[in-house]
């Protein structure tokens, strides 16, 4: 199975939190699902995880996609917030998904 289609076990999924200990009920088991959930989750959750480096860590450690992890780290340095952050994150992950699919 290619990296773009890789589905991780439930305990390795990405769980979206809105703040420390507050799980939103939204999770992603694959990169494809990750992008869908980025689109639907409250943007505060995206800000929370990006600032903590959680996206980068999950992509690197669980999906083992170093290239995408680097792209996300770059995004973190831009200090984006709100919908601008969501849009950039979607763009970054979509671009990677397309690259992996070809």
């Amino acid at each position: 199975m290619s990296r773009s289609q890789k589905i991780v076990p439930r305990e390795k999924a990405f769980y979206f939190f809105s703040s420390i200990g507050n799980y939103t009920g939204v999770s992603a088991l694959s990169l494809k699902e990750f992008i869908e959930k980025i689109n639907e989750v409250n943007v505060k959750s995206l800000e929370f995880h990006l600032n903590r480096g959680d996206f980068e860590k999950w992509v690197n450690d669980v999906l083992q996609d170093v290239e995408l992890a680097v792209d996300i780290r770059r995004l973190q340095r831009l200090n984006l917030v709100g919908e601008a952050l969501r849009n950039q994150l979607v763009l970054t992950v979509s671009r990677r998904l397309r690259r992996l699919a070809t």
């Binding site: 439930r10 305990e11 999924a13 769980y15 939190f17 420390i20 200990g21 799980y23 009920g25």
Partner: protein
């Protein structure tokens, strides 16, 4: 000893002994007997019987974690679950060392409430992220970190506000 719905009916003497034990569990049978005006053998027999029945579960030291130098934070978590798996999730939470107490409740939604301790906020977050959120049937989790404790007591048999709880058995 009478039982009603698996609950032992305690008489006034039992309650007075329990009250004495809750005030100081380290006092001798003789001291309790002296204080209550009864033979130490009566105290002994009744305490042994209540231990056997599980009314007296154990004797523990109440340690103040702050004074003992333990660096911990406490949080109350509310776990919203699929009603079909609430018991299973509650039992899984009970297995975790970080979880001190677990309760289920029915308010607007079926939910589990638990008292959790961790070394830091980061450890607390990791625990919820790695051990609670992934449990099948967990819908979401709400966490409140305790900032200051104003009162913490065990249920007391001697509390005057609960005097009527045992009235029918006495």
């Amino acid at each position: 000893m009478k039982f009603k719905n698996d609950v032992a009916a305690l008489d006034a003497t039992d309650l007075r002994i329990l009250q004495a034990l809750q005030e100081n569990a380290r006092q001798t049978y003789t001291a309790i007997g002296k204080g209550l005006g009864m033979a130490h053998s009566t105290v002994y027999d009744r305490i042994k019987r209540m231990e056997k029945q599980g009314i007296v579960r154990k004797y523990v030291a109440l340690v103040d974690p702050d004074k003992a130098g333990a660096k911990t934070i406490m949080a109350m978590i509310t776990v919203y679950t699929d009603p079909k798996v609430i018991e299973r999730v509650a039992h899984k939470l009970c297995e975790a060392a970080e979880v001190l107490e677990v309760y289920t409740s029915l308010s607007e939604e079926l939910q589990i409430m638990a008292k959790v301790v961790a070394e830091t906020q980061e450890h607390l977050h990791e625990f919820i992220s790695n051990s609670v959120a992934p449990l099948p049937g967990v819908l979401r989790v709400r966490t409140s970190i305790v900032t200051k404790k104003f009162k913490e007591e065990q249920f007391s048999i001697a509390d005057p506000g609960r005097a009527n709880v045992y009235k029918r058995n006495v």
